[in-house]
């Protein structure tokens, strides 16, 4: 665990789970994360957006698995056993997110969140709500509400 994590600066602190996708660091707030599992084959879904890999069975609950790399526009992942699925709950919906590896759980404070650089890509501004500097690593904070499938009608059609 890095030094910053141990010395929180403000009182509004929360924990984040950081993970890697294509050598880039991302994180989700820990209250969204239910558990982390290894990759298992999913059941293909018809008429699904390309970033939805299919359905998985988590102890009797059927939930969709999202290829986070594809969702973020980094290209589709060929899932294999080394990949990890982060099970997250957002807006009372449970979904799995396929990532390369889970790296750390860190304590951050709200004030550490830096604004997303003003880049043109709509995907970036929509899915990344800010940046944390943990040590000398740049960690992109994912906007959980936007990243889940089924947030808007346009995706249901897409």
């Amino acid at each position: 665990m890095s030094d910053t994590a141990l010395e929180p600066s403000a009182e509004t602190r929360h924990e984040i789970v950081s993970f890697m996708i294509r050598d880039q660091a991302y994180c989700l707030e820990i209250e969204h994360v239910l558990e982390i599992r290894g990759w298992t084959k999913t059941t293909a879904l018809p008429h699904a957006p390309s970033y939805v890999l299919g359905l998985m069975n988590l102890r009797g609950t059927v939930l969709p698995v999202v290829d986070l790399a594809a969702r973020l526009g980094l290209g589709a992942t060929q899932p294999e056993s080394r990949h990890v699925i982060i099970i997250a709950i957002v807006n009372e919906k449970t979904a799995g997110f396929l990532v390369d590896t889970v790296s750390d759980i860190a304590m951050v404070s709200e004030s550490d969140l830096q604004a997303t650089p003003n880049v043109s890509s709509e995907q970036t501004s929509r899915f990344i709500q800010g940046i944390y500097m943990i040590g000398d690593e740049l960690v992109r904070a994912i906007n959980a509400n936007e990243i889940v499938p089924n947030t808007g009608l346009e995706e249901a059609v897409a």
């Binding site: 999913t42 018809p46 359905l55 998985m56 009797g60 609950t61 059927v62 969709p64 499938p149 089924n150």
Partner: protein
């Protein structure tokens, strides 16, 4: 909301349900004395509970209502149609008041006042000759008490004429055995005014130890009540020990008493009231026997309790979520069992015999367990139907019509989720039936029908489904008018050849509304198309039939439960899918059928001289590109509601089994062509095919459905829109 108040509201719902049921019995003439008693008890319990939660609006309304019910109970007031109508309105109002408390909102004050006035008028009209206070006392004879209490001087006590109470509280052993504590009850009384307590210890050591015998200590309590405390309030304190004690309450005038409290020592020396001095009990000598007979009044009340207990089912209230969790767990168990069985099949033969026995037993047990758990969710449709009777009354009143709901088969059991989600569509259909279906009273009389229109709601089980029919005895669908409207709204081409059934079904088309002017009742922004969508999302179907001048009948057919489905497991492009057996008519082996090609890769199957469209399930769901050769495919013949047929091609059939339905909307969204998912024996997920969307003739609607974010949300939107 706290757990306690939640329990109270749940109980209220049940009591109100009972109340409406009793009213229905009265209306249909099948009521007896016990019906009125049970109504009185229901209102009284609501009043008591509401009092405990400080819901004053409910208490005061329930009080007025209760008074009138008491008049009926004591046969001072005869029930006629007007009284029944008033009672219906009163119980509706009571429901509204409680609902308002639930949501911290406010019920319509105007209607409340008017009803309270009407009820009070009724109450005072039958009690004109009886002084209001006296009436409560009638059943009690004045008691000549010979207690030290009576002797002291009256001092500045309560106002002149204020009643004081002499309470004799003789717990039986059973009271103690049930864990009640007299001290707590006495303390409650203390809060109601000035209280003096005397323990009568004279029988200590003499009585038998039979649970029904009175305990050795008898309490004499003298209460000078605060304002607002009357006998019924005192009785409420002892409500929970009813039947576990002897309780006598006597009223006496202030003048006879003092406020001074004689202490225990002073009294214990006095000769105590022998148990024989009991009000209302003529057979004094008998009561003096070692095990005193309970007084008559008590016998009566315990008889009443028994009677009350008899018709009530022995039920418990369980949080739906818990049941669902149990269902999920049992589903898991069944899956694990199947996985275990699969992995056991690899082991060597000798070990397997004994394992097989155990396994088959496990399989049987888990199957039974699953069945049993599913049955928990089944609920009679009675509650749903009763809600509908209110809709009929209100709609009829607003429309200036006279209508009555007749319910048949209201003990038919349906999955609770189904009944809950039926409320809105059914409400809408009932409003339509009363508003559009039934004619105005004059028109009815002119047509030789009784002025009062009847709307019949019937539920029954038929071949694994629940059929709910809603029929009215109105004028039937005005087909020329429907057609004219449909033409004006471009739903059909003018002069198009339409059968009667086609015209009737126009009512279900989106954007269709027959009311020339949008009335307050039916024109709520939702049409029959939304009703149909909602029912379809429950896995149900709705159809309509009508005879001019005789009435209209709507039939809803629903699955018994949303949780399980009988299906055929098939493989398409390596993926397992489930086709519901319900829609399945027959299966055709490869090469068995003759397939004809048409343009645009359309294909049809000729069988029994009929041409049936064929589609490949794999390409329909986007698993593969168009499949040119169907000769190696198995064909499943499916049939829709209206008898339309289609064949779907799959790679192979694996198995036929019951599957547990797992909804997709909960964590994902609805998928065109797929109704839900399930988990197979090996833990893998299989999608359940929505066969209704496999008929190409329905294509325009199916595609529309896939674009909208699900019919349910659409319905909600329309509903809220109207309320704003």
């Amino acid at each position: 909301m706290s757990e306690l108040s939640e329990m109270f509201f749940q109980e209220c719902d049940e009591l109100l349900e009972g109340l409406v049921k009793s009213l229905g019995e009265i209306e249909s003439g099948s009521a007896d004395d016990e019906t009125v008693n049970s109504m009185f008890r229901a209102v009284h319990s609501i009043k008591g509970g509401a009092g405990a939660f400080g819901l004053t609006a409910v208490v005061s309304f329930a009080h007025v209502f209760e008074n009138v019910l008491d008049d009926v109970r004591s046969k001072k007031l005869a029930i006629d149609d007007n009284v029944v109508a008033l009672f219906f309105m009163a119980s509706d109002q009571l429901t509204d008041l409680i609902d308002a408390c639930k949501s911290d909102g406010e019920a319509a004050a105007e209607a409340n006042e008017k009803l309270v006035e009407e009820l009070s008028d009724l109450h005072s009209s039958v009690n004109r000759d009886v002084a209001p206070e006296l009436e409560e006392e009638i059943s009690f004879q004045p008691m000549a008490l010979d207690l030290g209490l009576d002797l002291a001087e009256p001092n500045a006590g309560p106002a002149e004429g204020q009643k004081e109470f002499e309470i004799t509280f003789a717990p039986r052993l059973a009271l103690y055995e049930a864990g009640h504590e007299p001290a707590l009850l006495i303390r409650t009384l203390q809060d109601m005014g000035e209280l003096s307590v005397t323990a009568d210890l004279s029988s200590v050591g003499t009585a038998s130890l039979d649970a029904n015998a009175e305990a050795w200590i008898v309490w004499h309590l003298h209460l000078k009540p605060d304002a607002g405390v009357d006998e019924s309030t005192i009785r409420e304190v002892f409500e929970f020990v009813e039947g576990l004690c002897r309780l006598d309450i006597e009223t006496s005038d202030t003048a006879a008493f003092s406020g001074a409290l004689p202490d225990m020592e002073a009294l214990s020396g006095l000769p105590d009231l022998p148990p024989a001095v009991l009000p209302g009990l003529e057979a004094a000598p008998e009561a003096a026997a070692e095990t005193p007979q309970p007084p008559q009044s008590e016998l009566q009340s315990s008889a009443q309790i028994k009677k009350k207990a008899a018709p009530v089912n022995n039920t418990i209230r369980v949080d739906l979520e818990r049941v669902d969790r149990l269902i999920n767990l049992v589903g898991e168990l069944v899956i694990s069992e199947a996985m275990l069985r699969q992995s056991m099949s690899g082991t060597d033969h000798e070990r397997r015999n004994s394992v097989d026995d155990a396994m088959s037993q496990l399989r049987q047990l888990s199957g039974m367990l699953q069945e049993g758990v599913m049955a928990i969710r089944a609920q009679p449709v009675r509650g749903l139907f009763q809600r509908m009777s209110r809709i009929v009354r209100e709609t009829a009143k607003e429309a200036g019509k006279s209508a009555q709901l007749v319910t048949i088969g209201d003990s038919t059991e349906v999955d609770k989720t189904v009944t809950e989600r039926l409320v809105e569509p059914l409400t809408h259909m009932i409003r339509n039936a009363v508003d559009h279906g039934l004619e105005a009273p004059e028109a009815r009389l002119a047509a030789g029908k009784p002025e009062k229109g009847f709307v019949t709601l019937e539920a029954m089980h038929r071949s694994g489904r629940v059929i709910i029919t809603l029929s009215d005895d109105g004028a039937g669908i005005n087909r020329p008018k429907v057609r004219a409207i449909a033409e004006s709204k471009d739903l059909v081409r003018p002069g198009e050849d339409l059968s009667d059934a086609d015209i009737d079904n126009l009512l279900f088309r989106p954007g269709f509304s027959t009311a020339t002017e949008v009335s307050n009742l039916s024109g709520r922004g939702v049409g029959m198309d939304v009703v149909r969508n909602e029912i379809q999302s429950l896995g149900g179907r709705v159809s309509i039939s009508s005879t001019p001048g005789v009435g209209t009948k709507m039939t809803i057919s629903l699955p018994l439960t949303l949780a399980v489905l009988e299906g055929m497991v098939v493989i398409v492009e390596g993926e397992a899918l489930v086709v519901p057996t319900l829609a399945l008519r027959e299966t055709l082996q490869p090469g068995q059928a003759q397939i004809h090609e048409f343009c645009e890769n359309d294909r049809a199957l000729s069988i029994n001289g009929q041409l049936i469209p064929v589609s490949d399930l794999g390409s329909a769901l986007g698993y593969r590109k168009h499949l040119t050769d169907l000769s190696k495919q198995v064909l499943l013949m499916i049939e829709g509601d209206a008898g339309q047929r289609a064949a779907i091609a799959v790679d192979k059939i694996v198995d036929q089994r019951e599957v547990v339905i797992k909804g997709l909307e909960q964590n994902y969204m609805s998928i065109p062509g797929i109704s839900a998912a399930t988990i197979l024996g090996d833990g893998n997920i299989a999608l359940i095919v929505d066969t209704d969307q496999m008929f190409s003739t329905q294509a325009p609607e199916a595609s529309e459905l896939s674009v909208s974010s699900g019919p349910r949300r659409h319905y909600d939107n329309a509903g809220t829109e109207h309320h704003v």
